[in-house]
């Protein structure tokens, strides 16, 4: 790791150079909230954001992605990665991206995701404002953020840029960086510890203990019914989650009616049709027919099912599901606490 320093006044020109040279995606204001979007000018970047509506996974795993394309009887791969910089990613989202990397790599490698991922340079940044629903300090504590190329931290008079990979080094040419002093590096460390102390400890138990207890609660149908009574099955908790990666696959024709593409789009296990199978003659079978079953499935996936593959829970404590859920029943901390108390 090499630490560099960029003066506050030099930051806009660094950004301008990046934007002029390639696609740069970063947090930006959208009315009262924040979103990751392609930046057109340096002043659009808002590193003081608390949390974005959608997680940055969309930069590699777009809401709708062409997998293969066809024309008459010919079919071709649609993998065409575009080099891009994903700037201003909080550490909890870095952890989530690392999980997606592992899940898309496992078994059959999904190059449609991985090619985009490899073409992306991720610059993480310190959390300046903690979202009121966040609980990143008390979930998956033993899972460290990794997979990012650099870490940008706001310190007195400028930014410490810690480069972790050759892709991180490559961005240095776009700005007037100087070596960071020991003082600046230790200030950056302190700055990054601050949000952890500001984020309330919402889950008391450790991940392994939670995983065990949640799995044991599988058969407590009455409890799952209670927890999910107000669920609309809208799937918002899935859509805003940085570790959700389920998708639907549909073919789409172009207007010429001879060519088109097979596309995937984000899907959610809370949606009623998600596990439905056609039996023919209009008959169907739905293997998670009731909302308490779908609600439980999400909680199981986040806390236990994927733990072996990921080395920890598939939740990073961003709190997006808690914010997005209209009846406010999706908050993992409340669900876990209820299970742990039982």
């Amino acid at each position: 790791m090499k630490a560099h320093f960029l003066k506050e006044n030099d930051f806009p020109s660094f950004l301008q150079n990046l934007i002029g040279g390639m696609k740069v995606i970063g947090p930006s204001a959208k009315k009262q909230k924040f979103v990751f979007r392609e930046l057109q000018s340096p002043d659009e970047l808002r590193l003081d954001y608390d949390v974005t509506i959608l997680p940055p996974k969309k930069a590699m795993f777009p809401t709708k992605q062409e997998l293969v394309n066809f024309k008459e009887n010919r079919i071709e791969s649609s993998i065409k990665p575009v080099p891009q910089v994903l700037l201003g990613v909080h550490f909890y989202d870095v952890k989530a991206i690392d999980m997606l990397d592992n899940l898309f790599k496992a078994g059959h490698e999904d190059r449609n995701y991985l090619a985009n991922r490899e073409a992306t340079t991720i610059v993480a940044s310190n959390i300046r404002k903690v979202s009121p629903r966040a609980f990143f300090a008390s979930v998956g504590k033993d899972v460290s953020p990794k997979g990012h190329d650099a870490f940008l931290t706001k310190v007195t008079g400028g930014y410490v840029y810690e480069s972790l990979t050759p892709k991180g080094d490559a961005l240095l040419a776009h700005g007037t960086f100087a070596p960071a002093t020991d003082g600046q590096v230790s200030e950056a460390k302190k700055v990054n510890e601050k949000p952890l102390s500001e984020c309330p400890e919402k889950i008391k138990a450790g991940s392994a203990e939670v995983a065990k207890k949640v799995r044991e609660a599988f058969g407590k149908t009455k409890m799952w019914e209670d927890l999910s009574r107000k669920c609309f099955s809208c799937g918002t908790c899935n859509i805003v989650c940085p570790t959700c990666y389920c998708f639907d696959v549909q073919d789409i024709w172009n207007l010429d009616q001879t060519s088109g593409a097979r596309c995937r789009s984000w899907d959610g296990c809370l949606l009623e049709d998600f596990s439905k199978v056609s039996l023919g003659a209009g008959a169907t079978e739905n293997f998670r027919e009731h909302r308490n079953e779908r609600f439980r499935h999400r909680v199981m996936r986040k806390t236990t099912y994927l733990n072996e593959k990921l080395g920890g829970p598939a939740c990073v404590g961003c709190g997006r599901c808690s914010i997005g859920c209209v009846p406010d029943i999706a908050d993992p901390t409340k669900i876990i606490d209820r299970i742990m108390e039982a």
Partner: protein, 278 residues
């Protein structure tokens, strides 16, 4: 960094030529296929394919023939939705697109040397035909072989040539039933479990079940009466496998992906998974 090519796209299907296409019931069509690129399909009984038509989509379908029948392979498709309707319009000489083989099929090592019972309901006969043919082609590797086949009505029977062969064969004790007969039907009438009293099934039998979701629990109840341990019962499950590669989440039963961990499971592995059967 590893060099990747377009062929590494796991969603890119291969083209298969339709050598034979036969409408076998009002809704089922039986295809015999051969890969156009000359690379043969290498698979095991019970494995699946994602079958597609450009512009319509993909559906998971089991192999309906055994790898012991070389060069070509069979699939049977029921006209149900958009994709199956489009595939079933393809005739001899046309093309169908495929990804696979995918998933885990029958563990032949666990079946070899033992008495076998296959219980197939309706189009559950299609994926199990891959195993039936395998056993018949390598008959000496297996013990006594019993096959139960049940359908709702006689007109839903398929693989008529096979049925004729099996009825006459000494290599398989074949028993068939229909839920409801018609004037032409002379055989057994009743659900598939009514076949159990007709044959001696021993407790050391290895059993394979494939059929509509409702069938499993009733068949398993009969097997428990005989004293067949759950470790020796295999079920071939159907789900809405959209990707077939353990990513999209649609086929997940608790923490198992049917497309990767299955579609064939030992019953004791999944019996406690509430979402496995309904």
């Amino acid at each position: 960094m590893t060099h990747h090519t377009a062929q590494d796209n796991v969603f890119l299907p291969r083209e298969a030529e339709v050598l034979k296409a036969e409408q076998v019931t009002a809704t089922e069509k039986h295809f015999t296929l051969k890969m156009k690129d000359g690379v043969p399909m290498t698979y095991g009984p019970g494995q699946i394919l994602e079958v597609s038509m450009h512009g319509f989509g993909e559906i998971p379908i089991g192999f309906a023939s055994s790898p012991t029948r070389k060069d070509t392979f069979d699939i049977v498709i029921r006209t149900v939705g958009r994709v199956s309707t489009a595939v079933n319009k393809v005739e001899k000489g046309g093309s169908i697109f495929l990804r696979g083989p995918l998933g885990n099929g029958f563990d032949l090592d666990k079946l070899r040397g033992h008495p076998i019972l296959i219980v197939a309901g309706g189009i559950g006969l299609c994926p199990t035909r891959s195993l039936i043919q395998y056993i018949l082609d390598r008959r000496s590797e297996f013990g006594t072989f019993t096959l139960f086949f049940g359908v709702k009505s006689p007109k839903e029977q398929l693989f008529h040539a096979d049925l004729k062969t099996w009825r006459a064969s000494k290599d398989v004790s074949f028993h068939e039933t229909v839920d409801k007969g018609d004037e032409s039907w002379k055989g057994n009438v009743g659900v598939i479990t009514t076949l159990f009293p007709k044959v001696k099934i021993t407790p050391d039998t290895r059993v394979v079940i494939c059929g509509p979701p409702i069938m499993y629990k009733f068949v398993i109840r009969e097997l428990e009466k005989i004293g067949i341990p759950q470790t020796n019962i295999y079920v071939d499950l159907e789900r809405r496998m959209k990707c077939g590669i353990g990513k999209c989440g649609h086929c997940q039963i608790n923490d198992k992906y049917v497309c990767m961990d299955g579609p064939v499971f030992a019953y004791d592995q999944i019996k406690n998974l509430e979402e496995a059967f309904r």
